[in-house]
């Protein structure tokens, strides 16, 4: 719900008539009128504090006759304007009717000069070695408004820490800090992780972290974007490059379904033989998706792109070895293997792949009569396509009158930027309801916390459908949801597998249908998917089957795996993937599955090529090439085309845009879309880009497109009706359930040395009392018996874990497709083994 429009207020700034809605601050009104008032501590997304004093202006207000309450007018009939004796901070003063602001008078310019001179008396002026140099608000504004000479005649400016780690990701240079407090307010106002603060006072006032580990927040990198000096720098970029040396390429984050817009900054790097390297990732403004922010996984998890273990040429099996081969040799081998298989071929595709890749691979395999399946244990993409949030949805519009239901999802861990947006919605008055078997951070913002047993989320959502007949403890939540003007359900896979999420998605669909929250903007269903393009895969008809791979493989004579590593997930699948007799793997790395392949084809990461992802909000967004291809690697769509042509198919795609055009013609929801439409940019507030660094930070301006949201089928008139929901979670004394943690040990993160300290050991999480009962010792090893296999994991205890349940983080423990009965070996044997290990 957009905020109610407030009446416009009319004022004059530097002689220019300006009208802005009531409540706006002078500094914003000026910016909108194209008048720059320099700032350091002010930021449009943070609470104003007026502490740096840089934005001082002269403010005049119409004089009011106390007796009559009327404005005093002069001889010309103009209002008499009274200016106060002091300059005032334009970042804390709201506009008022008839106000006259002087933002560039002699007095104001002198004040800016004075403030800058003060700031520089304790600033090291080490610009030549400062990472911020070139994009530094202090540097830029000193050039524009500050003194050219120093009158500070003392050599002892400040002697403070130059390399103070605030945790592993962010470094603080205490000398450069100008105490604006933006970072602290970001952590408090936006991230809701108040883990840094001011320490000491006066010139000793410093930023300090008080969490363990230091600066424990998934959003810490954003503070470096809004730091107006080089005080906060990221561990990956510090002393890495100068801003002006780098090339900027627009991209979309490949880690989760939010689809944050980013830029990749690249430079040719002497240390790697002149290769183009990604030096840093910055947010790219998209108010519809990620605003000015990205999470630390998106910012720091890029090292895999140019990692030395990347596959750079095709490999072909010779006996029990994989040998380097040319593309011609490899394609010939693929042709030889696929030809005899005929229609007995299965494509197992991953949801990391772009829409173009998935479409091309699906065409390749289905054209031969084979089938494709998505390597995923989460269902419901058919229902998000049917009842997904309507066109025009913007989570930033949710507020009073809206409801957000978070069902079986740990949103902060799974889709961090959605957590920020849900939190902002709650602060604006939206009713947040959480339904989960365990406590998560989202409970903080929830008006209604519905705590359920493991696997009960579908049943619980069914109970919410009818407020009149809901169980007593759910009635308030049910009513709040039903009565909301706008309502969105986020459903995840916290503790659920394919069947569970299928039931949950259906229950959520039923709830939305019954309460008529679908088919329009800001209403509908959002899947908190495991990967960046899960929704795209579903839309293109690449879906998980819910059946074990061993069943799917029956009768097949070839298996084609792209963007997936089933054997890496479950080593027991090694014989299964070999069973069809011919295995092709297309991947970035020599995965466990690839090691077993007959042919391994080197694919390209998102950073080397063009493509599109479809976000969980079903926004189709383009990403662009940032670095040249690694070795002879090729994009998946292109490889598919070349194989198709080798097999005699007519797959004449020469460019990714052509593939997209074919896709748009084939998939109804994507009809009418093309690359030009996806690249359409729009004006956004606050303005970003180099001239706005002091105002908005270094988040990049979005000139490359905000993407296009595709309509849900319900909007297109497809009829909807509730369906029966049936799901029963396994019952056992001990049940293991899969959960998702942002920092996992998946391929994409394992190669990041920056994030390495944050990656957890392979672990099992259980309630401290359960651990005690089982004799499991926190941070020691224990052995789990799961599906007859023994696995050794590190024990972690957490009071938020339900009793009788063991949490297994996905990609950071053992692969668990769904809730499964489990035993923990507590015998001394496990302890002894642990002791031996030490």
């Amino acid at each position: 719900m957009p905020e109610p429009t407030r009446p416009d207020v009319h004022l004059t700034i530097d002689g220019k008539a300006v009208s802005v809605p009531a409540g706006k601050l002078i500094v914003e009104a000026a910016k909108r009128a194209g008048i720059d008032i320099p700032v350091f501590c002010y930021h449009p997304r943070l609470e104003s504090v007026g502490m740096c004093r840089m934005c001082l202006v002269e403010i005049g207000r119409p004089q009011i006759d106390r007796a009559t309450g009327k404005v005093v007018v002069d001889a010309q009939g103009q209002p008499q304007i009274a200016f106060g004796p002091k300059l005032e901070t334009s970042c804390t003063t709201p506009v008022s009717e008839g106000m006259v602001v002087r933002a560039s008078s002699e007095k104001v310019r002198a004040a800016r000069h004075d403030i800058l001179e003060f700031l520089l008396t304790s600033h090291p002026l080490d610009c030549p070695v400062c990472d911020k140099g070139g994009e530094c608000p202090l540097q830029n504004q000193t050039l524009e408004y500050g003194p050219g000479l120093s009158r500070f005649i003392f050599t002892d400016k400040q002697r403070l820490g130059k390399h103070v780690p605030l945790g592993e990701l962010i470094w603080l240079d205490q000398e450069r800090c100008i105490q604006c407090g933006r970072c602290i307010r970001f952590q408090t106002d936006v991230a809701d992780d108040p883990v840094i603060g001011f320490y000491q006072r006066g010139r000793k006032l410093q930023i300090a972290t008080f969490s363990e580990p230091g600066f424990d927040s998934k959003f810490s990198g954003n503070t470096t974007d809004i730091c107006p000096v080089g005080a906060l720098t990221t561990a990956d970029f510090r002393f890495g490059a100068r801003p002006w040396e780098m090339r900027s390429s627009a991209s979309v984050c490949s880690h989760c379904p939010v689809g944050c817009n980013t830029v990749l900054h690249t430079r040719r790097e002497a240390a790697t033989g002149g290769r183009m390297e990604i030096k840093r990732v910055l947010p790219r403004q998209n108010n519809l998706v990620n605003d000015l922010w990205i999470c630390d996984k998106g910012r720091f998890g890029y090292a895999y792109v140019t990692h030395r273990e990347r596959l750079t040429q095709p490999l072909v099996r010779q006996g029990d070895r994989l040998m380097p081969a040319t593309w011609e040799q490899a394609l010939e081998r693929v042709r030889e293997g696929m030809m005899p298989a005929g229609s007995h071929i299965l494509g197992l595709l991953g949801d990391r792949l772009s829409n173009e890749d998935l479409f091309a691979l699906r065409m390749l395999i289905t054209a031969r009569g084979g089938g494709v399946t998505l390597d995923s244990t989460m269902a419901g993409g058919d229902l998000t396509a049917l009842l997904g949030v309507g066109v025009g949805t913007n989570l930033a519009d949710l507020g009073k009158g809206s409801a957000v239901l978070l069902a079986a999802t740990d949103l902060e861990e799974e889709a961090p930027i959605w957590w920020l947006r849900a939190r902002q919605a709650a602060l604006r008055g939206a009713v947040v309801i959480t339904v989960n078997a365990r406590a998560t951070k989202a409970d903080r913002i929830a008006r209604h916390v519905v705590r359920i047993g493991v696997g009960e989320a579908p049943a619980s959502l069914e109970d919410l459908r009818d407020p009149a007949h809901a169980p007593a403890h759910l009635q308030d939540a049910a009513r709040a949801f039903a009565e909301a003007e706008n309502a969105i359900v986020f459903f995840g896979a916290d503790g659920l597998g394919f069947e569970g999420t299928q039931a949950l998605a259906q229950a959520a669909a039923n709830l939305l249908i019954d309460t008529r929250h679908y088919g329009r903007a800001n209403n509908g269903l959002i899947g908190v998917w495991p990967r960046a393009n899960t929704q795209g895969a579903w839309d293109l008809g690449v879906r998980p089957s819910g059946r074990p791979l061993a069943e799917l493989i029956a009768g097949q004579q070839a298996l084609f795996v792209a963007g997936a590593d089933p054997v890496g997930d479950s080593p027991a699948l090694a014989p299964v993937v070999r069973a069809p007799g011919f295995l092709v793997v297309q991947d970035l790395f020599l995965s466990e599955t690839a090691r077993l392949a007959d042919v391994v084809l080197p694919a390209q990461s998102f950073a080397e090529r063009e493509g599109t992802f479809t976000s969980g909000e079903r926004r189709v967004q383009r990403f662009y090439p940032a670095v040249p291809p690694m070795g002879q690697s090729k994009p998946d769509w292109q490889i598919a085309g070349e194989i198709g042509r080798a097999l005699g198919r007519d797959m004449p795609w020469l460019s990714v845009a052509q593939v997209f055009a074919a896709l748009a013609a084939a998939v109804p929801a994507y009809a009418g879309l093309n690359y030009a439409a996806l690249a359409r940019a729009e004006a956004q507030w606050p303005p970003t880009g180099s001239s706005n660094y002091p105002f908005s930070g270094t988040a990049a301006r979005n000139d490359q497109g905000v993407g296009v949201q595709v309509p849900s089928a319900a909007e297109g008139g497809t009829p909807v009706s509730p369906r029966e929901v049936r799901y029963q979670a396994p019952r056992a004394e001990w049940v293991a359930i899969p959960i998702t943690r942002l920092y996992d040990r998946g391929t994409l993160l394992l190669h990041s040395s920056t994030l390495a300290p944050r990656l957890p050991a392979p672990s099992v999480i259980l309630h401290p009392l359960d651990a005690e009962k089982l004799g499991a010792v926190p941070s020691h090893a224990a052995t789990l018996v799961l599906n007859g296999l023994e696995v050794e994991l590190t024990v972690v205890t957490d009071e938020a874990t339900p009793r009788g349940v063991m949490l297994l983080p996905r990609s950071a423990s053992v692969h668990l497709a769904a809730p499964t009965p489990v035993d923990l070996l507590t015998a001394p044997a496990a302890d002894e083994r642990a002791a031996l290990k030490r």
Partner: protein
């Protein structure tokens, strides 16, 4: 004065004992208010008395209370007992020696403001005093003057003490609120003012200890009686803290409008060795200096008169400086204090106080040039009117006025090294 209204312990022995206080009319004002007056009537009585805030700003107390928004609850009363201004030591004596009158004043103010919770924010060094206050508060509660439904009225009240952690800035009311909320002591931008957005974001009245101690006599004896003391615009008694070069330093309770001469010579016993006063700081370390001329000595100590002379009465902490004092050294002393106490939140105060201190040290060392003295004045001017809170403005008062009134004390160091140069210890760390 024939009778002490505030420093009543000087007339009545053991008035810090509850039974003694009760035997001398203690809590009669509160009883009167609770049983015979509405909160609005108490407020009107205080307005009519002309009582002005004794913490330094001199804002009319009743008017301040009337800024509370209607029908917004809960409200809080916060007592500013962070007495930290160098030269000020009146609140300590009031709270230590005449505690029940102070506490009764809190109850009256809380009743008028309809605040059911009051916090006494004491500077950290007042830990022993706070402990005694806790004991007195407990006794007051045991006697039925705190708790639920006081004296059968609908009004309830609890009083708590809270200790600061040793920062001068926490005497600034919004920094005090931050500190009381458990945050770092830094001032808030105003507006919003505490009356509308105060402690925990709720309407809050903040009053000084001495201000509140004035309330029981006002309610007990009436506004008309109160106005017979002092001047028409500065009514009532005031405790003057006298220090510096005087023979008998200490607290003196006098009607507002008493002259400096009466305080310094008649009560303070004049200057040691019969020396002549050179300057007076009427409001502690943050004062704009007054040259101690005959006219100034005969000036009445009330808010208007001192302001008209270009300084301010503030908390009435009169520091006398005799003819031996080098005013550039004085500026160094005050600057060192304010640099040490600057909270660092706003740029001009954080950086400017340091720069001033360095220049003053340089001047004292005898190595400075006339240009440095000129620069000192410019730096002070650069701070002026740009700060977030009054601390930065306080810091420049003694510097600007000593430069303006005693330029010769600065010139002196330009040609020859200061005799004190060796003693100047730089503490900029």
């Amino acid at each position: 004065m024939s009778e002490h209204i505030l420093l009543r312990h000087r007339d009545v022995a053991d008035i810090d004992k509850l039974e003694v206080y009760l035997a001398h009319g203690g809590f009669e004002a509160l009883r009167k208010a609770l049983t015979a007056q509405t909160p609005a009537q108490v407020l009107e009585e205080v307005k009519a008395s002309g009582l002005r805030g004794r913490g330094g700003a001199g804002f009319p107390t009743g008017v301040k209370w009337s800024f509370l928004p209607k029908d917004v609850f809960p409200r809080y009363l916060v007592v500013n007992a962070d007495e930290s201004e160098p030269g000020t030591f009146k609140d300590r004596e009031l709270m230590e020696r005449n505690p029940f009158q102070f506490l009764e004043g809190i109850a009256l103010a809380a009743y008028a403001a309809q605040a059911e919770r009051a916090y006494i924010y004491c500077r950290g060094e007042f830990w022993d005093l706070a402990r005694d206050l806790d004991r007195h508060i407990a006794q007051m509660g045991d006697a039925g003057w705190l708790g639920a439904r006081l004296q059968g009225s609908t009004f309830s009240l609890e009083i708590y003490t809270h200790l600061g952690a040793g920062a001068y800035i926490c005497g600034e009311e919004t920094a005090l609120l931050e500190s009381l909320e458990g945050k770092i002591g830094q001032p808030r931008i105003r507006p919003p003012f505490p009356a509308t957005y105060g402690l925990f974001g709720k309407p809050t009245v903040i009053n000084n200890v001495e201000t509140l101690t004035n309330l029981p006599p006002i309610i007990a004896r009436g506004a008309a009686w109160y106005r017979t003391i002092g001047t028409p615009k500065s009514s009532g008694p005031k405790v003057f803290s006298l220090s510096g070069h005087v023979n008998r330093p200490g607290n003196y309770e006098l009607p507002l409008g008493t002259t400096f001469r009466t305080l310094i010579y008649d009560l303070g016993g004049g200057l040691p060795g019969g020396r002549k006063p050179k300057a007076i700081m009427p409001a502690g370390a943050s004062s704009t200096l007054l040259r101690a001329t005959e006219a100034v000595l005969d000036m009445p100590m009330d808010y208007e008169s001192v302001a008209a002379a270009g300084s301010m009465l503030g908390s009435a902490s009169v520091i006398v400086l005799d003819e031996t004092v080098d005013m550039s050294w004085l500026a160094l002393k005050t600057s060192r204090f304010f640099k040490h106490e600057s909270c660092g939140k706003c740029t001009p105060c954080r950086e400017g106080t340091y720069w001033m201190l360095r220049l003053l040290e340089h001047i004292q060392s005898g190595e400075a040039t006339a240009e440095d003295v000129h620069l000192l004045g410019q730096v002070a001017g650069q701070i002026q009117n740009k700060c977030l809170c009054p601390l930065g403005e306080f810091a420049i008062g003694p510097v600007q006025s000593s430069l303006a009134l005693f330029a010769e004390d600065f010139q002196l160091h330009i040609s020859q090294p200061s005799p004190r140069a060796a003693a100047v210890v730089s503490e900029h760390a």
